[in-house]
């Protein structure tokens, strides 16, 4: 029987992490709101590093404010910084939503961000009158020393929903919690929903904010912000949807809250990567809406099946693949790798979630492949592992590029961040069409690396 071997970290020190701290996830979530601005209550680095990271991955600007905590705040608290920061932001940027994102510093100092938010609201009311009411100021606790960016994302979505969702007339929509994915992924989800005559409310939607056209004639300036993102009305309306699908298994709190508070049924699943996971997503949407799957989607599915029938046995079967990254993408990818007849011999994630290993067990059984699970591990662990256990392909983010280079294993780029190649943020790995994209990428990488040396084999 194929089996899963869980290998946990056996050292204290972390070397080349596969995770980052909570605030990033919250900044990502708030950026997905139309006229939504994160304000990070922390040091300048807390926003600068993340803006830098977003810029090099998405190749877009990102407007993230910071309260710029300094030594004095460590002593006297960050009240002035946060209150004035919110006001400055509100007065200069005309936001609809301000998400207050805490950090290690502000959490350790023990700042009462809820109280400070109230103060800021009061001040703004004085300065702006009625106009202040439309600005939602939402505190989001994201202590950096608890869990990871995933938790920060989950906390942010949950805070948004708890703060904003209001029961009203039922709508015919489905809420989607997308997780930390790319603009291209969200566009593919929208395409799938549209194909099933379904409107979605994305909690939240970074597709336009992180992939905006360059059209100076249409660009909003001073302040610049991109069109798109989930509107505040949609966020409010999320209480009235037919259901919530969280395609991020590890960020389902918002879905659970909506179910508990507003009786919106939820489905919390692995992202729709590959055939079976996408089938499951389609079924979930179908279940909530009663709409059946469209011929268009079935044809897209059929095209993926068609190409898998062509390529999987011929070029991919039995190849060993190592996958590292966020737990949802790696789970989805591992299953798809199995569907392609390859063996996901190593899967590494930097965090620990109880569902992860049972999912790996399932995939191991399905694919007939033994899986070494590097659980709560780091990229150094991946490197050390691969030196002893070579694989044919590596799938993960750009942070593994030097490892791939040194070990001479082709790296299929996926996840966040990808900064040493272009265009990945515009692609979807989700849905049937995302499966086609991934399979082409994988197959062509295999052809280049393993077939080109005996090039006549490509003669057909």
């Amino acid at each position: 029987m194929s089996c899963v071997n869980v290998i946990e970290k056996d050292r204290n020190v972390i070397i080349n992490p596969l995770k980052t701290c909570q605030p990033l996830g919250a900044m990502f979530a708030v950026t997905g709101i139309n006229k939504g601005f994160p304000i990070v209550h922390g040091s300048q680095g807390c926003s600068a590093f993340v803006r830098y990271g977003f810029a090099r991955h998405f190749r877009e600007p990102s407007e993230i404010a910071v309260t710029a905590l300094h030594e004095d705040a460590a002593v006297f608290g960050g009240r002035t910084n946060l209150v004035s920061g919110i006001e400055n932001l509100a007065l200069r940027f005309d936001p609809d939503v301000i998400g207050i994102i805490t950090t290690c510093s502000s959490e350790i100092i023990g700042d009462d961000v809820y109280g400070f938010a109230d103060t800021a609201r009061g001040n703004l009311k004085e300065k702006l009158g009625e106009a202040a009411d439309k600005i939602e100021i939402i505190p989001i606790n994201t202590p950096s020393f608890v869990e990871s960016h995933y938790k920060g994302y989950d906390n942010a979505i949950n805070a948004l929903v708890n703060h904003l969702a209001r029961k009203d007339e039922p709508n015919e929509k489905v809420n989607i919690i997308p997780g930390i994915i790319n603009p291209g992924d969200i566009r593919e989800l929208k395409h799938m929903l549209a194909s099933m005559d379904t409107d979605g409310i994305f909690l939240t939607d970074i597709s336009d904010p992180f992939d905006a056209p360059l059209r100076p004639s249409k660009t909003k300036e001073i302040p610049y912000y991109p069109k798109g993102g989930t509107t505040i009305d949609e966020l409010r309306d999320s209480a009235n949807s037919l259901g919530t699908v969280s395609i991020c298994k590890y960020a389902g709190s918002g879905a659970t809250s909506l179910e508990r508070e507003h009786k919106v049924p939820s489905a919390i699943e692995t992202p729709p990567i590959g055939i079976q996971n996408t089938d499951q997503f389609v079924r979930n949407v179908s279940k909530f809406t009663g709409n059946s799957v469209s011929e268009e989607l079935l044809d897209e599915r059929g095209m993926l099946v068609d190409s898998m029938a062509d390529n999987a046995a011929r070029y991919l079967y039995g190849r060993k693949v190592a996958i590292y990254g966020d737990p949802d993408l790696t789970t989805g990818m591992a299953r798809f790798v199995g569907e392609l007849g390859m063996e996901p011999t190593m899967v590494c994630t930097g965090v620990k979630y109880p569902d992860f290993n049972p999912d790996m067990e399932k995939i191991s059984k399905e694919s007939g492949s033994d899986i070494d699970v590097l659980y709560g591990q780091d990229l150094r662990a991946v490197e050390v592992y691969l030196k002893e256990n070579p694989v044919d392909l590596l799938i993960g983010n750009s942070d593994g590029r030097l490892i791939a280079l040194d070990l001479d294993i082709p790296l299929i780029r996926m996840g966040f961040p990808v900064y040493d190649r272009v265009g990945y943020q515009r692609q979807s790995v989700l849905g049937y069409r995302g499966g086609l994209y991934l399979m082409d990428l994988i197959t062509n990488t295999v052809l280049e690396k393993y077939y080109e040396p005996t090039h006549w084999k490509l003669q057909q």
Partner: protein
């Protein structure tokens, strides 16, 4: 009723005699009609005589220029289509300066309307001279007649003779225009004859040994020949000439000096073995290296011929030790799987029995594009009762065979592969292979592995979206796939 009119052939009843179901009480010579013209308007998979000579026979030679005397199409289509890798090694120990020269270039006369009206011989002559200038390293120049040049009556032999004298290297004309003969098979024949008449006996080998053989009809598809070569050389046998896999022009010129000819593809190349035996007295034996059993048997036969029995046993033993566990594994997986073999020529009879005996599969149908009577006799003798044997099946017949015989796997060509897929049946490329070589002991493992991969590719379990999957579909696991790689041996012998 051994002959069968398929449903789809109702409107072309002449196909009935090409479709035969093996029955024990039939006389032995009751076999499908073959080597006759294809029914117009049916979607036959056959090619033309030009494809037979250039695509199959001469395209594998490493050091010659091919000048196709045709409108542009035949030249374009003749470009490096088959997997015929070559080494740069020349018989004199030197290296041919352009790697995979045979795959890399094709030349042609690109005939225009005026050439059709006024004749193309001058253009051909010029082209041959230019070809020599472009690739002075080439040993010889081969030129090909095509439908157009056949119809307008260009005399290629005359041009070849002239050019040869002028250039001082051999120029050989192959007169197999596309329309001649019912299939590419005619081209094989012309290729054999032309090479025999123009080359064989014209040069002497640099050295000879008592163990010199010609390996005939082995084209090194995806490296097949390199496997066999290794076996024979380990036994102490010298491949004096190959015809034509990884071979040089000169090798063919001294085929008359071998002690024995081994004929591998008996459809495309028995002709030249016969001619050499007849004229030079070199005997030949027909050999078969597909599957471990045939390969072992034939190595023994060759060993016996040369008194190298022990050496043969050594080769067989060392290889069997390596491959036996793998074959055992694949047999456990392929047991009972129904296979339909649709080869170009003889693979249908090479493989039908080994797939059954060594891998436990069931050969439910065999077919061939261009086999002749002798081939079908062998095919029939090697399949069991009730097996369908079809000559030159067309695409509707292909579909009906799938519907009726429900194969789990089809071995066929790229033209058929995607049609099979659309009907939900995996199809493995058997002409040029997928992850070959497929010959010899290791090659048979490669074939078994590729069949296994195709049948067990998980995609075949996911063909249709299920609105209401079986309870727990998304969590439960199919016994089949969970087990499938349990005892999977380590990959070995895989070239790709």
């Amino acid at each position: 009723m051994p002959y069968k009119l398929l449903e789809v052939d109702k409107k072309i009843p002449q196909r009935k005699n090409h479709v035969y179901v093996k029955h024990c009480s039939d006389p032995d010579d009751e076999i499908p009609d073959c080597n006759t013209k294809t029914v117009p308007g049916s979607m036959s998979e056959r090619g033309c005589a030009f494809a037979g000579v250039k695509g199959v026979i001469t395209g594998a030679i490493k050091d010659v220029i091919h000048v196709v005397h045709s409108p542009i199409g035949c030249t374009s289509y003749g470009y490096g289509t088959k997997r015929y890798p070559t080494t740069p090694d020349m018989p004199n120990g030197e290296k041919f300066p352009i790697e995979n020269f045979n795959l890399k270039y094709i030349l042609g006369t690109d005939l225009q309307e005026s050439d059709v009206v006024f004749g193309g011989m001058k253009k051909l002559k010029k082209s041959i001279i230019e070809a020599h200038k472009e690739f002075p390293e080439a040993t010889a120049i081969y030129t090909y007649s095509t439908c157009t040049t056949g119809l307008i009556g260009d005399d290629l032999d005359a041009v070849a003779k002239e050019a040869s004298e002028e250039l001082g290297i051999q120029v050989v004309a192959f007169n197999a225009p596309g329309f001649c003969g019912p299939s590419q098979s005619k081209g094989h024949h012309v290729g054999n004859l032309t090479l025999f008449e123009n080359l064989v006996g014209t040069k002497e080998p640099l050295e000879t040994t008592p163990y010199d053989v010609n390996l005939i009809g082995e084209y090194n598809i995806d490296g097949d020949l390199w496997i066999i070569k290794e076996y024979l050389e380990e036994m102490g046998i010298n491949l004096l000439s190959k015809f034509t896999g990884d071979c040089s022009h000169d090798e063919i010129c001294w085929m008359h000096r071998a002690k024995l000819s081994l004929v591998r593809c008996q459809r495309s190349a028995t002709y030249i073995a016969d001619l050499i035996e007849e004229k030079y007295g070199v005997p030949y034996i027909k050999v078969d290296f597909f599957s471990t059993k045939y390969c072992a048997e034939n190595l023994r036969t060759i060993g016996k011929y040369f008194g190298l029995e022990e050496e043969a046993e050594k080769v067989i033993e060392s290889r069997m030790e390596k491959v036996a566990p793998e074959i055992e594994f694949y047999k456990s997986k392929l047991q009972g799987k129904r296979v339909f073999i649709f080869s170009g020529g003889p693979k249908s009879y090479h493989l039908s029995k080994p797939l059954e005996e060594e891998l436990g599969m069931e050969t439910v149908a065999v077919a061939s594009q261009f086999e002749h009577k002798d081939g079908y006799e062998k095919m029939k003798s090697r399949v069991k009762e009730g097996t369908l044997i079809v000559d030159d099946p067309n695409s509707l017949e292909f579909e009906e065979i799938i519907q009726v015989y429900k194969p789990d796997l089809i071995l066929a060509g790229v033209k058929e592969k995607y049609l099979a897929h659309k009907l939900g049946v995996p199809c493995l490329l058997i002409h040029s292979y997928e992850n070959g070589p497929y010959m010899g002991f290791e090659g048979f493992v490669n074939l078994a592995k590729d069949m296994y991969r195709n049948i067990y590719s998980p995609v075949w379990n996911m063909l249709e979206f299920e609105e209401e999957p079986a309870v727990g579909e998304n969590t439960e696991v199919q016994e089949d796939s969970s087990e499938k790689q349990e005892n999977k041996p380590e990959n070995t012998g895989e070239l790709a």
